[in-house]
Amino acid sequence: MIDFRNVKKVYPNGTTALDGINLHIDDGEFVFIVGPSGAGKTTLMKLLLREERVTSGRLIVDEFDLVKMPERKVPYYRRQLGVVFQDFRLFPNKTVFENVAFAMRVVGEPASVIKKRVPTILSIVNLADKYNCYPTELSGGEQQRVALARALANNPRMIIADEPTGNIDPKMSLEIMNLLIKIHKRNKTVIVVTHEKTLVDYFQQRVVTIRDGRIVDDRMGGMF
């Protein structure tokens, strides 16, 4: 459950990126966030990740009140989320296996659990045979699938993807989107920021449109 209430975000330089945001997302929902460049979509994601703090209003994610949350609790909150970026952000000097395992090591998962779980996750994203490759040896779509696997590593309740298909060719993009839907079907909340008109139209999910920092449209099976 995500609940934005009258959220406003003003950056230190005075730019108002978001204003009067009221948005409720239930557990297990799939939501596309769309809007023109500079509308405030990434800012919305950053607030959810608690990378940026809300200027005013309330933001609650499950039992976490992101406004009141002390700094030291942030890492534990983030373990509930899986994040995917446009630029993948993989460790170039680690294998696929190690990249996924790393997320589990950070939270102190024992080696035996890691050994068992990583191959399972890699098979979800159809990369079971590439576990020993380095990111540079993979295509963009494959790299993004590794990132997705890493996001799933700690079994998060929610996946946040900011333009996951931005750097990938259209065929691969469909595959990534299909994977995200697959994950959503496994009862996870999925929020995807995207510019891909065709994909949004194709999947017929909830679409939230942001323009100039405000939500201008929010509908089921919506279109661009």
Partner: protein, 474 residues
């Protein structure tokens, strides 16, 4: 965290060190130099202290005392203080009369020298006790009446009763041939009661003083007496310690005056006997040498070793000591103390600045090394943040990197310090014939190593913490 994590952290920090090759080496070098300077400083200061110890307490003055205890007529002499009798009798004071019931002079009182009290230039002060001693049988003492003779004066160790016959000693031979021995007399200088050497004297208790009959030599040229000596007689009572002598009394008196001055910490009396003893001890292995050097005499004067508190007021103290009668020479070591003090404070100032400088540089360079390490791993750090890594998980490798820099520097600094120290020590010793004593490296090596490791680690941790601080926010 699990075991894996520990190897992860250590592995991360070591690979960080290697990745930052040049910077790491620079940090290690600077920190190492800093530690070497610190160590040298500690060793130097320790050595100065140690050498000061070798020189003895520098806050001391030796005051030499002229114990001229022969008095002219009318001069005042301070009498000895209380004696302690072994039989528990209470000491009342001194008297010229051995049989007096009450003392004429209290202990420590002044006595004006009167020739009428003297016999052959000696004024005998008899101790007067609360319990009168029993008179036993009598002894004989020969007195040369102040004339130097060849050999020792005659001695008679027999005890006699009243009326016993005493065979008088043979004639002593005067050093000056022109002086002729005339005979013995029970009254000093009285030729009218002359007795020939070797003749019989019927002991008369009336002649005895303190159960002793003194037989005075009568000479053709009796020495003229103008100086009088005071001798103390315990008056047939066994006492604790030794019978006081007048020069000891004088010494005690001067010591008391000295100890009443300002700035005095302690006054030790070193008698001429003690001084001789000390010197003999120094030449223990060469008794012939000391025999030749001293030719049987004691050339050492009585003196005081005076310890004082404040080196700044030493001039006043010396002036005051010079005012005291009997002190004729003063030797102080304030110049040495001052020189060492200023040397020490100079070294401390120079080294402190140097150390602070190097310490700051060390911290700064470690900060930069870690900053560089953080910078090269910026992306990694941001990924760690997104997957929910805690602050310490992110920072620990960098902190450890600082710690490694500290530990490596400490280890190297220790080895270099060790080498330098032993090398210098050997040089100094062979150069100065061990005149300068240097403390051995072993005696402080443990502390030095511990201090080095602690300071090295601390510097590493502080340096990396400062540069990590801004990354500690999510």
């Amino acid at each position: 965290m699990r075991r894996y994590s520990i190897t992860y952290f250590i592995g991360q920090s070591i690979s960080g060190l290697l990745r930052n090759g040049v910077m790491s080496i620079a940090s290690i070098t600077v920190l190492m130099s800093c530690l070497i300077v610190m160590g040298s400083f500690a060793l130097l200061v320790l050595n100065i202290d140690y050498n000061m110890e070798n020189l003895g307490d520098l806050n001391t003055i030796s005051a030499f005392v002229q114990t001229d205890t022969e008095y002219a007529e009318g001069e005042e002499a301070l009498l000895a203080g209380a004696l302690k009798a072994k039989n528990g009798a209470e000491f009342l004071g001194w008297s010229l009369d051995p049989n007096a019931d009450a003392p004429t002079y209290a202990p420590g009182q002044k006595y004006t020298v009167n020739p009428a009290d003297a016999k052959n230039g000696k004024i005998t002060m008899y101790a007067i006790w609360s319990i009168k001693p029993q008179t036993a049988n009598y002894g004989i003492v020969y007195d040369m009446s102040g004339v130097s003779i060849e050999g020792n004066p005659p001695v008679d160790n027999n005890r006699y009763n009243h009326g016993d016959e005493v065979v008088l000693a043979d004639a002593p031979i005067p050093k000056l041939a022109s002086n002729n021995f005339l005979g013995w007399s029970v009254v000093p200088g009285d030729a009218s009661q002359l007795m020939k050497p070797g003749s019989i004297y019927k002991l008369n208790a009336g002649n005895a003083v303190c159960a002793t009959v003194t037989l005075y030599a009568i000479w053709s040229n009796m020495p003229v007496i103008s100086k009088y000596e005071i001798v103390y007689n315990p008056n047939r009572t066994e006492i604790e310690g030794s019978v006081p002598t007048q020069d000891r009394v004088l010494l005690m008196n001067i010591a008391e005056q000295v100890s009443k001055l300002d700035n005095i910490k302690r006054v030790d009396i070193i008698t001429k006997e003690m001084a001789l003893q000390q010197e003999k001890k120094r030449y223990e292995d060469y008794p012939e040498v000391i025999e030749i050097l001293l030719s049987g005499k004691n050339p050492y004067p009585d003196n005081f070793l005076i310890s004082y508190y404040d080196n700044d007021k030493v001039a006043t103290l010396i002036y005051q000591l010079n005012q005291i009668d009997g002190i004729y020479k003063i030797r102080d070591r304030s110049d040495v103390a001052e020189r060492i003090d200023s040397l020490k404070s100079g070294i401390i100032v120079v080294f402190s600045w140097f150390m602070i400088l190097l310490f700051v540089v060390s911290i700064f360079i470690i900060m930069n090394t870690v900053k560089l390490a953080v910078f090269t791993r910026k992306q990694e750090i941001s990924i760690m943040r997104y997957v929910g890594a805690t602050n310490w998980f992110i920072t620990l490798p960098f902190m450890l990197e600082g710690v490694f820099i500290g530990l490596i520097s400490a280890g190297l600094a220790y080895l270099i310090e060790w080498y330098i120290y032993i090398y210098l020590q050997r040089m100094v010793i062979s150069d100065t014939l061990q005149m300068i004593h240097i403390i051995s490296f072993n005696s402080i090596s443990k502390w030095l190593l511990v201090a080095f490791l602690a300071i090295g680690m601390l510097t590493g941790v502080v340096g990396s913490y400062i540069s990590m601080r801004k990354y500690l926010k999510a």
